[in-house]
C-alpha cells in the first residue's frame, strides 16, 4: 500500500522580531512529533535545505513594509493551499505600523544618516491587506497552545477552535480581582482572548497585545479610562502599540486625537 504523503508545512517571515516563528520552536515537547507528522518543507530560521512547494500549510509571520515583500507575499499565497497569519505584525501591521500615523521619510532620517538608500513603504500593513488569508491567529506573540490547535485543525481539515471572547472573560475564569477597581487602565474588556489574562494576573492592566476582539466597545472603555483620570494622550498611547493599525484600535485612537467623545 502506498504510504500517505506527509503534508508540507512552510514558515515565512516578513517585517517582524522572529518571535512568532520562535513560538513554533518553543513547542519543545511537541516539536519532534510535529516534524514526524509534517514535512517541514520551508523554515529558514530552523533549516538550510528548502523544498520548492506547493505547501499544504503556510504560517506567515511579519507585516508588509517594502514593495519587494508585497510581491513576495503574493508568491507565497500562490504556492500555499492554506495560509495562516500568526502574530500582531501579520494580522495588524505590528508595532512598526506606528509609521502609519507619521511621515515615514522623517522616521528614516531619525535612524539613518543616508535615508535615501532605505527602501521602505509609507505604511506597515497586515498580510490580509494584500492576499486572501484563511485564518488569523492574533497575539504578540500568539499563544503556543493555540498555534498547535491551528496546525492540527488544518492537518485534519477542520476549522481551528480558538475562543473569540475578550481577555476580561479569561480574567473572570481565573478568579482575578479586576485591576480597573484600583484605577489601573486595562484593555481586557476589548482585547481578544488567548493570553490567559496574563497582565491582570501579574497585577498590571492588559496592554492589548492580542489586538481587538470581535466588535469591541472601545468608546465605552475609553470613557471609563478618562473618568478614572487618564489623559487624552494616555489613551492614544495605550491604543497605539503592537496592534495600533487594527481597525478598531486605529479608529478609536484617531477619534481621541481629534478630541471626539469616541467612535460612534
Amino acid at each position: 500500500m502506498a504510504r500517505r504523503r506527509r503534508p508540507k508545512l512552510a514558515v515565512w517571515k516578513f517585517a517582524s522580531c522572529d518571535g512568532c516563528q520562535l513560538t513554533v520552536l518553543d513547542l519543545e515537547d511537541e516539536l519532534l512529533e510535529i516534524a514526524g507528522t509534517l514535512d517541514v518543507a520551508y523554515f529558514k530560521e530552523a533549516k538550510s535545505a528548502d523544498e520548492p512547494g506547493p505547501f499544504d500549510l503556510s504560517l506567515v509571520e511579519g507585516s508588509i513594509t517594502t514593495g519587494h515583500d508585497a510581491e513576495r507575499i503574493r508568491e507565497v499565497r500562490a504556492r500555499s493551499k492554506v495560509l495562516v497569519t500568526i502574530g500582531a505584525c501579520a494580522t495588524a501591521g505590528g508595532i512598526q505600523a506606528l509609521r502609519n500615523f507619521k511621515d515615514v521619510r522623517a522616521f528614516a532620517s531619525v535612524v539613518y544618516a543616508s535615508p535615501e538608500t532605505i527602501q521602505t513603504l509609507a505604511t506597515s500593513t497586515a498580510i490580509a491587506d494584500h492576499v486572501p488569508v484563511d485564518f488569523e491567529l492574533q497575539g504578540c506573540p500568539p499563544n503556543k497552545v493555540q498555534l498547535l490547535e491551528v496546525i492540527s485543525a488544518y492537518l485534519n481539515g477542520r476549522k481551528p477552535n480558538v475562543a473569540s471572547h475578550s481577555v476580561c472573560v479569561e480574567c473572570k475564569l481565573r478568579g482575578n480581582v479586576c485591576v480597573m477597581v484600583t484605577g489601573t487602565p486595562c484593555l481586557g474588556p476589548i482585547t481578544h482572548a488567548g493570553c490567559g489574562a496574563l497582565c491582570p494576573t501579574y497585577q498590571r492592566g492588559c496592554y492589548g497585545c492580542f489586538g481587538p476582539m470581535e466588535a469591541p466597545n472601545t468608546t465605552s472603555l475609553v470613557r471609563a479610562f478618562r473618568r478614572s483620570g487618564s489623559s487624552q494622550i494616555d489613551v492614544v498611547r495605550v491604543l497605539r502599540t503592537f496592534n495600533a493599525n487594527a481597525p478598531a484600535f486605529r479608529a478609536e485612537s484617531e477619534a481621541q486625537e481629534k478630541g471626539d467623545e469616541g467612535t460612534p
Binding site: K13, F14, A15, S16, C17, D18, G19, C20, L22, T23, L25, D26, E28, D29, L31, L32, A35, V40, F43, K44, E45, A46, K47, S48, A49, D50, T65, T66, D69, G94, I95, Q96, L98, R99, K102, V104, A106, F107, A108, V110, V111, Y112, A113, T117, I118, T120, C140, P141, C195, L198, C199, T201, Y202, Q203, R204, Y207, C209, R237, T241, F242
Partner: protein, 432 residues
C-alpha cells in the same frame, strides 16, 4: 588561468539565523576584494517612534525588536531609564533581574547551540534530521531550552515578550514556593549542560585563530549581566555612559543595519567569546573546571569554539539561577517608585549575543525626545566580514556549493540576530 578570473560567491538568504541577510564575496585571484554582509531585514524605525512616548513604555516597546532576546531589551531600557531618573534597583529585585536574564541566556543559547549550530558540526541541514541519529542529544537540548523558558514563564509571565518587567523592577515578585518548584529542573539542567559540553568538546573544530578585540562588561564580583564597566582586550575601560565617545555607528548603502566601530581602531567582537575571555575568573569555580575539562580556556580566539563557550555560559546561567533561588528573600515591594524628570540615561547590558546599548533623553514629563539603540549584531558585523575575508582564499578553491556552505558555517558561529541589527544570509561569491 583561474587566478585571472573574478568569482562571486553568493548566499541569497542565510538559513538558521534569526532574521534575513545575504552574503556576497568578490574574489580576485584568491583574494577577497569585497565582502558584504547585507542585512535586508526591513527597517522598523524603533528609535523614531519612541519619540513622544512615555519612559514607562520603552521596555515593552523595545522588547519587540527581538523575539529571541526580549529580556535584553527590557534590561537595557530599564537601566537607561533608571539612570535618567536617578533610581537604583538593588537587593532582591536586582537578584530577580539576574534570574530572569539567566532564563534568556539558557533559552537563547540552547536554541542556537542545539537547533541551529550543532547540525553544522555533524553535517545535517537541521536539528530535526539530526534527531534521527542523535535523538537523545536533541531531546536533551530541547529540555535545557525549556528549563530556561520556565524561568521566563514564571518571572516574565510568558517565554516570548514577557509582561512582568517595568522600570524600577517588576509588576509582581514571585513567591518563594513558586521559585523553589523550578529547582529540580534547573539542577537537572546544570548537570545536562556539563554532559553536553563534554560531548561537543569531541567535535572537529577548524583550526582558526582570529585577532579579535573583545568588548564586554566586567564586574568585580560577578559574571556580567546588567552592570559593570565596559572593557576590551586592548585596554578600553570605560563607564557605559561614555559609550558614544568611544564607539560610532556607520551606514553601508547595501544594508539596513547600522555597523559599529571602535574609534581609532575599527572592528571588535562582543558576545559570549568576549565575555568568556574578559571574565573567566568570574565564572563559578565549578564552571571554570567544566571549561578546562572541555579544553576551552582564555584566550580562546577560535570563532568555531563559540559553540563550547555558549555551553559554558549555559552551565553558568543554571548555576547562577539555582544560587539566586536558594538565597531568595522576597522584596518588600515589587518595584522601586520612579518619578519623571528631564535628563539623559544610559543603559548597557549583556544580551545573549553581546553588549546591548540604550540611550534616552527625556523631557520633564518623562516623554522620550531622543532614543538610540545599538544591538550586538550591528557591533559584530565588521568582525564577521573580516572573518570571511580571511576565509576567502579557502573559499576560492572550493566548488560553489561547498564554498557557500563553508561561508554560512563561518557566519553562523556568531549567531547573528538580524531582526535586532535592523533592527541575515544570501551568499554571493564573485570572481574576476
Amino acid at each position: 588561468m583561474s587566478d585571472a578570473t573574478t568569482r562571486t560567491i553568493q548566499v541569497d538568504y542565510l538559513a538558521r539565523v534569526e532574521g534575513k541577510g545575504s552574503l556576497t564575496i568578490r574574489l580576485e585571484g584568491g583574494e577577497a576584494i569585497d565582502v558584504r554582509l547585507a542585512i535586508f531585514e526591513p527597517p522598523r524605525f524603533f528609535e523614531a517612534f519612541l519619540r513622544g512616548r512615555s519612559f514607562m513604555e520603552a521596555p515593552d516597546m523595545t522588547s519587540r525588536i527581538c523575539g529571541i532576546c526580549p529580556v535584553a531589551y527590557f534590561m537595557s531600557a530599564c537601566h537607561a531609564m533608571e539612570d535618567a531618573l536617578g533610581v537604583r534597583v538593588a537587593g532582591p529585585l536586582r537578584a530577580l533581574r539576574r534570574l530572569l536574564y539567566c532564563g534568556e541566556w539558557i533559552e537563547s543559547h540552547a536554541l542556537h547551540v542545539f537547533l541551529l549550530h550543532t547540525p553544522d558540526f555533524l553535517g545535517y541541514p537541521d536539528a530535526i534530521s539530526m534527531a534521527k541519529k542523535h535523538g537523545a542529544w536533541v531531546k536533551r537540548g530541547l529540555r535545557i531550552k525549556k528549563a530556561g523558558n520556565s524561568l521566563l514563564s514564571l518571572m516574565g509571565g510568558r517565554e516570548i515578550h514577557p509582561i512582568n518587567v517595568r522600570v524600577g523592577g517588576f509588576y509582581r515578585a514571585p513567591a518563594r514556593g513558586e521559585l523553589d518548584a523550578l529547582l529540580p529542573e534547573l539542577r537537572w539542567g546544570r548537570d545536562a549542560a556539563a554532559e553536553c559540553l563534554e560531548w561537543m568538546a569531541r567535535f572537529d573544530f577548524p583550526e582558526v585563530e582570529r585577532d579579535f578585540e573583545f568588548v564586554a562588561l566586567r564586574h568585580p564580583g560577578e559574571y556580567p549581566f546588567c552592570e559593570g564597566r565596559l572593557v576590551s582586550s586592548r585596554g578600553l575601560d570605560i563607564d557605559v555612559r561614555d559609550y558614544d565617545d568611544h564607539f560610532f555607528e556607520e551606514q553601508a548603502p547595501y544594508s539596513t543595519a547600522l555597523r559599529s566601530r571602535i574609534r581609532g581602531r575599527g572592528a571588535y567582537l562582543c558576545g559570549p567569546l568576549a565575555r568568556f575571555n574578559l571574565n573567566f575568573e568570574q565564572l563559578f569555580p565549578e564552571v571554570q573546571d567544566l571549561a578546562r575539562r572541555a579544553g576551552v580556556t582564555p584566550p580562546c580566539r577560535n570563532p568555531y569554539r563559540m559553540l563550547l563557550v555558549r555551553m559554558v555560559e549555559i552551565a553558568q546561567a543554571f548555576t547562577e539561577a539555582i544560587r539566586v533561588i536558594e538565597g531568595y528573600v522576597p522584596p518588600e515591594a515589587p518595584f522601586v517608585e520612579t518619578i519623571a524628570r528631564a535628563g539623559t540615561g544610559f543603559g548597557g547590558t549583556e544580551a545573549p549575543r553581546g553588549f546591548l546599548y540604550h540611550r534616552y533623553t527625556l523631557d520633564e514629563s518623562g516623554t522620550i525626545v531622543d532614543a538610540n539603540i545599538v544591538p550586538p549584531t550591528s557591533q559584530n558585523q565588521l568582525a564577521i566580514e573580516d572573518d570571511l575575508r580571511e576565509l576567502a582564499p579557502v573559499l576560492a578553491n572550493l566548488p560553489h556549493e561547498e564554498a557557500t556552505h563553508r561561508a554560512e558555517l563561518a557566519v553562523r558561529n556568531y549567531d547573528p540576530c538580524i531582526s535586532c541589527s535592523t533592527h541575515f544570509l544570501t551568499l554571493k561569491v564573485e570572481r574576476a
